[in-house]
Structure formats: structure tokens, C-alpha cells
Amino acid sequence: MKSGSKRHFAPVSRRAFVGALVGAAFFASAAEAQVPAGYPADYAKIIEDAKKEGSVKVYATTDAKAASPLIKDFEALYGIKVEYNDLNSTELYNRFIAESASSSGTADVTWSSAPDLQVKLVADGLAVAYASPEVDKLPKWAVFNNQAYGTTYEPMVIVYNKSQMPAGDTFTDHTSLAKLLTAKADVYKGKVTAYDPERSGVGFLMMNRDVVADPKVWDLFNAFGKAESKYYTSAGAMIEKVGSGEHLIAYNIFASYAALQTKKNPNLGVIYPSDFTLVATRVAFIPTKANHPNAGKLFLDYLLSKRGQTIVAKAELFSIRDDVEGAATAKAVNEKIGATARPIPVSNELLGTLEQSKRLEFLNKWQASQKK
């Protein structure tokens, strides 16, 4: 992971220098051979220019650890070093807008799990228009103006503790969960947890989209209030505490997080709500102020390619392409939930959720639903 990442402050050894020369010579000669199948012929020029740039700087919210197979494979494929910066979505936003306003340039690709913030950056004119050769392989809702691209297909699921749930209590969707919590509010008092829409951007966006998908979901939020649910700002704490039995149900958890944790704790169960399941995507774009725009294009295309998406699936980040096989893929998810998937579109629609008046309106309604 992050190979060679210490180089920029270690003295360059002679061996590394010779190695770099040999490497450069080798890759220069291999350039044409590497245009991926089905790409336009002039793509060779992008590859060539990207190699001259030498490295690609990525600002991402995906854990460096989860992304490491992608990084390694990309580096092996093109011989271009990936400088991978693992940030949270607010840090990414802060860093990116300041750098875009400065003269020193910014990342070559941003890749964030906050689609609303990404769309805002695009709308503010901070992303270049670039039609990826992979665009036909992506669902329409995941492509925004040929500027921003959805890269994953992550259902929002409900995680629960199988061994500690009261015997006989079951739920399959938003409605039946609302009924269960309303009927047995005492039993579930303090046992349900979710992202706090007041303090967490993800929490706000997801609950907002829940309401778009089905306004009846307010019944569920009212039931949360009645059961005195606990709201958190991080998924890690929620899943951990459902696993330990302190809580029983965690609502709106990324399936990618849930998948990793259920493997380690067999007590955890995952429910894809059968009335509708939100599907989130990590959004990538190439900034206008990118220092290495060609390397950025290469990385974006790689991320969307079948090769890249196969690795996305293996890392359990859920591939967005139909033609990738495996458990963590759009194909497998759609087989499970079919027509009830409600992808969160990468579009102008998301700008509405960032408007202050609309946010306050939603939050006021939310606070009212939580009053006992």
C-alpha cells in the first residue's frame, strides 16, 4: 500500500534513481501496447502524457487499506505512482476548495462518499468535463454532465444482532420495523441506533433520500423517537455496539461496512429493506486545478474499468458495473432487491439537499419526530 510513499522526504538513493531510469525506459517502450481494448486510438496520447506526469494524487474517503489492491494494480498496470490521501469527506472538501483557490494546484482525482458535496464542487465549476471511455458501461444516474462519476453500488442496509433480538421479533422493511418499534417501544428503548442527521452529513443525506423514496418513512422516524433511539456520528461505533448487544439495530449502514463486520462477528445479521433500499455511490471527478490531469483521467478510467471494478468488488466496496461478478456487485445486489433499489442519483437534485432553508425545514421536522 502507498508504495514508495516515503520517497519525497527521504534522500534519493542512487539505486532508486537508476531503478527509476530503467523503469521509465521500460514503460516508455510499452506505451502503445497498453491502450485498453475498446478505447479510442488517441488514448495512447493520454497514457503517454500521464507517464510524463509520473504520478497521480488522489483525495479519497475510502480507507487506504481497502483501496490498496486498487492502487497496487494501477501502479503495476501503468507504472504511475499513486499518492493516495485518505481523508474524511469534510476534510476532503476543506482541503480541496482551499487548494483550488491557491496557486499550488490540487489533487488529480477526488473520490468521495459524500455525493452531495461532490456535486456541489462540480456545480461550482471545480471539475473538468471528461467523457470517460467507460461511460456506456455505467448506469445513467451515476454520470453527471460527463464530469462526475459514481463508482460503487452500495446498498444502505439495516444491521441487527441476531442472538439478542427478542425471540419472534422480525422485520423485513421500513414499515414492519416501524410497527415493531411502535408496538414494543419499551423493549426497544435505547436499542436502536442510526447516523444522527443533525450532526452527520451522511446521516442527513440518507434520511433525506429515504423521504424522497417513500414519505411514509416518517412513521419509522417517529417510531425511532418513541423508542428513544441513540444517534451517532460514526458507523464504526454503531456496528460495534450492535455487535456487543448494547444496541440491537443499526439503521442505514453502508453494506460495504456491514460486510466487513459481519464476517468477523457471526451474531450480526444484515437486512436489505424489501420495500425500498437506498443505494449510495462514491463519486469521483477530475479537478480543473489538477496538476496531473492526464494521470487523473487514467486513474478515473481505471477505477471505472472492468479490471478496476473487479478489484472494487473483491475489496467489498460493491462494483457498479453489471458485467462484474461476485457478491459485492451491482449484479448480485440487484438479484437480491431487484426493482426496489433506489440509487441516489449523481445529479443537480442533490444540490437541493444542501440548501440551508431546506435543511433547516427537514431538521425541524426531524426534531419534532423525536419528541417523546
Binding site: 487499506k65 458507523a235 462477528n265 433547516l360
Partner: protein, 556 residues
């Protein structure tokens, strides 16, 4: 160079480094958009917005209560710990010291999580208690528990200040008291503790300030109740507006600054009579320990209780969590025991980088920082002028910004001040950020040992013809050696866990343990975080033990 110019130069550089980030924040608070946005205009909107927010006032009140509460617990406790460990013959004191410091260098987020695993609603101690005695009497998510835990875990900070002052104290005063029949308790309360009043006043104000920016503890322990303190309020603010709003953050900083300045004034008043505390005089003394007699074991018991509550209980939770794949109700721990978390840890090259970087920046960087602090302290030493008065106020300011905000301000400086730009993604920038933010802490340690040096020693040197600079180098510096070592220790420990001020300066290759803990925690890798923290604790305590055993003189 004449000493007067040196003094002014050092203080001017320090002032510039402090005022740059603060200045950006002041400026930002009066704008209606980010300051680097070409459309930003002058506006008081941010002030109106924040001051009209009920949540802001709630957060401010909670934070003030927390700060007062934890100071009231930490200062007396820290002073007592320092007295028992440095001035008495309490059994086991040399072994206790390194362990005592665990709460300083362990990320508060992790420490708080340790309490959740051990004493949370389904923690292993709670479950055992329930099966033995029925329902438990504590709730670690309550506000009083938060204050108590914050107080207990900040006592070691006070301990460091108090112990370095106590070590410089000659034993004759205590001995005289003991010989005239005073009990060890009287010796402590009437002789030793009053003599170190300046160190306690310093640390009291510092702890109060730390209270204003505690983040990890309320994040973990207050999250389930939605408890708001100023640092978590900043998140809520960002979320209300959808995107981060720097002018609103800046206004919060302005409010904290307004609280900070009178505190510094108070501190100056407390120290106006600093002359009274001179204890390193121009005569040879031998330090004798206060013999506790029959109080030896009760004293040991007291420390043991504090230690169990503050270090052992959370550490047991962490150690347990790091060796299992899951825990809690309905899980037989013997079925889930595993070494996987550790195997995974050492497979992770990022972790290895982080450990190396952290050790480097803490030890080497820490020593350099203390060097800077000593320079500044000497520049102010025995110099009554407007310069020293103003710089006394200034040093406190960087700490008035919550870590995340300070991180942003420092990032902006490195980004927009062109000569600094090339340094931005290096460990050097990280070091500058750390040095700046912890300036007040390191400097106070150095200053409080300087306070104890009697002027006659330097005067003697001057009388025999030494210049002022020579007297400082040959007389003053050697006399405050202990203070410098203590300052270095504190800085090493604090740098080990610090990261938030450098969060925008860290990149691939410059990751540190603190940033890794938070980013992995956010991604839900609790097992990796707990394993890393246990390795961290072992590394640092072994390091401290080796240092002390191999003759790093902490005991005068």
C-alpha cells in the same frame, strides 16, 4: 549579537507565528464567505447567526461546566500524585510513574472506548457486577461520568507540572516540618504544595483550556446522548448548513479567545508574587524524602485506586478488545480469542510508517520544540518590558482554537504564504504545527523551573564579570535541566497522540498514529485501532522505563 536584540528577535518571530493563524481567524469571522473566495465581503452575519443559536449557548455552558469540573478534579489529584511519587518513600513509586502517564499519550477516543468495553452497559465489568450484585450504579454515558473521567485522565498533566516543580524543591523545609512533628499530610498541605503554587496555577489554567477543546472523550461517551460541547458543536454547525462554514467556526474561536484573555490575566495576578517561590538558592542542599511511616501503604492504596480507575479499567477493555473478534452479550470470549488483529496490524505498511513517523516526530521533534521553548523562556527571563507582557498573553492564543480549527488555519498559512508552500507536505510542517499549538504547555514547564532559580545565582556570575548571555548559558540553563527534561517528556507524550492540528498537512508518507487511529475508527476498523493502541502503550511505557532506568534523571 547583543542580548537585547536577541530577545526582541526571538519574541517577534514567536509573535508572528502565533498571530498569523489567529489573524486569519479574526479576519474570517467578519466575512460572509471563505477568505480566499474572490466574492467574500465584510459582514457581521456570522456573529448574528452563532450568537442566536440555542445550540451554541448550550454547548458553551456544557463546555464551561466540563472545563471547571475536570480542573477541580485534576489539579488536587495531580498535585497529590506528584507529592507522593517525588517527595515520599511510598513503595513502588518508580514503577508507577511511566504507567501513570498513559492517559497523556493515549488518544482520548481510544481511552473512552476502553471504558465502553469494560464499564459500558454491556461491558465485562458491568456484566460481572450485574451477575454478582444486581443492577450497576454507574452510567458512563452520563455527564457526571464524563467530567469524572476527564478529570481523572487529566491528572497526569498536572502531575508532570507539579512533579517537576517539586523535584527542584530542596528537602530542608519538609524535613524541618517533619522534625517538629508534622504528619506527612501536613507536610504536603502546608509546605510542599504551597511552595509549588505557581506550577499548580499554570497547570490549572492549562487544564481549563484543554477542557474547551476536549473532543475524543465527549465524542465517544457523549455521542449516544447527543451531548454537545464546543468541538462537537462545530460539526453540528457544518451539518446545519450543508457545507463547512469557516466564518461560523471563526466566530466560535473569537468567543473562546474572549474567555481566554481574562484567564491569562488571572494567571498573571497569581504569579505577581513569583519571587516568593524561589527555592533554588545559592547554597548546597540535599534532598531527603519525606518518610511516610504508617502512611506508606494507605498512600500506596490511594494511588492504586486512582490507577485502577484511570488506567487499568480502560486498558483492560482495550486489551480485551484487541484479542477478540467480537464481544458482548451472548458471546463466549474464549470462542472468539484471536491474534488476527495484531497480525493484520503488522501486515499494514501504513501502520508501520505511522509508528516510525510518530516516534520520530515525538522524540526528535519534541526535543527541537523544547529547544525553541527554552529560547523563548530565556528571552523573557528577568526582562521586565512590554515585550514580555504581550508575549505572555500571546502564547496562550493558539490553544484557544479547537484542534480541528487550528489545523485548518495552519493549513491555510502553509498554502497561501508562498515561501512556505514547498514545506506543506513534509514532516517539518507537521512539526511546526505541533510546536505552535503546544507552545503554552512546553513553555510553562520551562518557565516554572526558571521561576525557581534565585536571581542571586545569576547576579554572582555577573559580579565576577560574565555577560548576561554567558550567565544564562553557564548558570541558568544547567539549573533548569530537570525542567527541560520534564518539558521534553511532556512534549514527547503529547506529540505521540497529537494529530488534529496537522490533519491537513498529513499525506501519504507522513501519517502518524493519531491520524491513523481516527481515520480507521471512522472506517469502523475497531479491532485494528485497539490493537494499534495497545502496541502504542507498550512501546511508550517500555521506552519510558528504559529511559528512566538507564539514567535519564527525572529525580533531580
Amino acid at each position: 549579537m547583543p542580548i537585547g536584540i536577541m530577545r526582541r528577535l526571538v519574541l517577534a518571530i514567536m509573535g508572528l507565528m502565533i498571530l498569523a493563524p489567529i489573524g486569519i481567524m479574526v479576519y474570517q469571522s467578519f466575512l460572509d464567505a471563505p477568505f480566499f473566495d474572490a466574492n467574500a465581503k465584510f459582514s457581521l452575519w456570522a456573529y448574528r447567526f452563532v450568537l442566536a443559536e440555542p445550540d451554541f449557548w448550550k454547548a458553551l455552558t456544557t463546555t464551561a461546566l466540563l472545563a471547571v469540573g475536570m480542573t477541580a478534579i485534576a489539579v488536587p489529584l495531580g498535585a497529590l500524585l506528584a507529592f507522593l511519587i517525588t517527595r515520599t518513600d511510598m513503595p513502588g513509586r518508580s514503577w508507577v510513574e511511566p504507567l501513570l502517564l498513559v492517559p497523556i499519550f493515549l488518544s482520548p477516543l481510544v481511552l473512552a472506548f476502553g471504558y465502553v468495553v469494560s464499564m459500558g452497559p454491556v461491558g465485562f465489568i458491568t456484566v460481572w457486577w450485574k451477575s454478582a450484585f444486581g443492577s450497576e450504579f454507574w452510567n458512563i454515558y452520563s455527564f457526571s461520568a464524563l467530567i469524572l473521567i476527564a478529570g481523572l485522565t487529566h491528572a497526569p498533566h498536572v502531575y508532570l507540572y507539579a512533579s517537576s516543580a517539586l523535584r527542584a524543591l530542596p528537602g530542608d523545609l519538609e524535613e524541618a516540618a517533619r522534625m517538629t512533628g508534622a504528619t506527612p499530610r501536613r507536610v504536603a498541605s502546608d509546605v510542599s504544595i504551597p511552595m509549588i503554587r505557581p506550577a499548580l496555577a499554570f497547570s490549572g489554567v492549562l487544564i481549563f483550556f484543554l477542557g474547551f477543546e476536549v473532543f475524543g472523550l465527549p465524542l465517544i461517551l457523549g455521542d449516544p446522548q447527543g451531548l454537545l460541547v464546543l468541538s462537537t458543536y462545530l460539526y453540528k454547525l457544518t451539518n446545519k448548513l450543508g457545507v463547512p462554514s469557516y466564518q461560523l467556526m471563526a466566530v466560535v474561536v473569537m468567543v473562546i479567545l474572549l474567555i481566554a484573555l481574562p484567564l491569562v490575566l488571572l494567571q498573571r495576578i497569581l504569579l505577581r508574587t513569583a519571587q516568593r517561590y524561589v527555592s533554588v538558592r545559592g547554597k548546597a542542599v540535599r534532598t531527603n524524602l519525606v518518610r511516610l511511616g504508617q502512611w506508606r501503604w494507605p498512600a500506596f492504596g490511594l494511588i492504586a485506586i486512582w490507577f485502577i480507575g484511570t488506567v487499568l479499567i480502560p486498558m483492560m477493555g482495550l486489551i480485551l478488545r484487541s484479542f477478540v473478534s467480537s464481544w458482548g452479550l451472548g458471546i463466549n470470549l474464549f470462542d472468539v480469542l484471536t491474534l488476527d488483529n495484531y497480525v493484520e496490524l503488522f501486515d499494514d505498511t501504513e501502520v508501520v510508517h505511522a509508528i516510525i513517523n510518530t516516534v520520530l516526530i515525538a522524540t526528535v521533534g519534541g526535543a527541537l520544540s523544547v529547544g525553541c521553548y527554552v529560547l523563548i523562556a530565556l528571552a523573557q527571563h528577568r526582562w521586565r518590558s512590554g515585550w514580555t507582557r504581550i508575549s505572555d498573553y500571546l502564547v496562550m492564543l493558539p490553544r484557544a482554537m479547537p484542534g480541528v480549527v487550528a489545523g485548518l488555519a495552519i493549513f491555510w498559512i502553509f498554502l497561501f504564504v508562498t515561501p512556505l508552500t514547498p514545506l506543506r507536505t513534509t514532516l517539518f510542517a507537521v512539526w511546526i504545527a505541533y510546536t505552535l499549538v503546544w507552545l503554552a504547555y512546553g513553555l510553562r514547564l520551562v518557565q516554572s523551573s526558571l521561576l525557581q532559580v534565585a536571581p542571586e545565582l545569576e547576579e554572582a556570575a555577573r559580579v565576577v564579570g560574565a555577560k548576561e548571555g554567558r550567565a544564562m548559558r553557564d548558570i541558568t540553563l544547567p539549573l533548569i535541566k530537570n525542567g527541560m527534561v520534564a518539558a521534553w517528556m511532556l512534549i514527547v507524550l503529547i506529540f505521540v497522540r497529537e494529530y488534529s492540528t496537522a490533519v491537513y498537512l498529513l499525506g501519504p508518507g507522513t501519517e502518524v498514529i493519531g491520524s491513523l487511529v481516527v481515520s480507521r475508527w471512522g472506517g469502523g476498523a475497531v479491532d485494528l485501532v485497539t490493537a494499534l493502541s495497545c502496541v502504542n502503550v507498550v512501546l511508550i511505557t517500555v521506552g519510558l522505563l528504559v529511559a528512566i532506568r538507564s539514567g535519564v534523571k527525572l529525580h533531580g
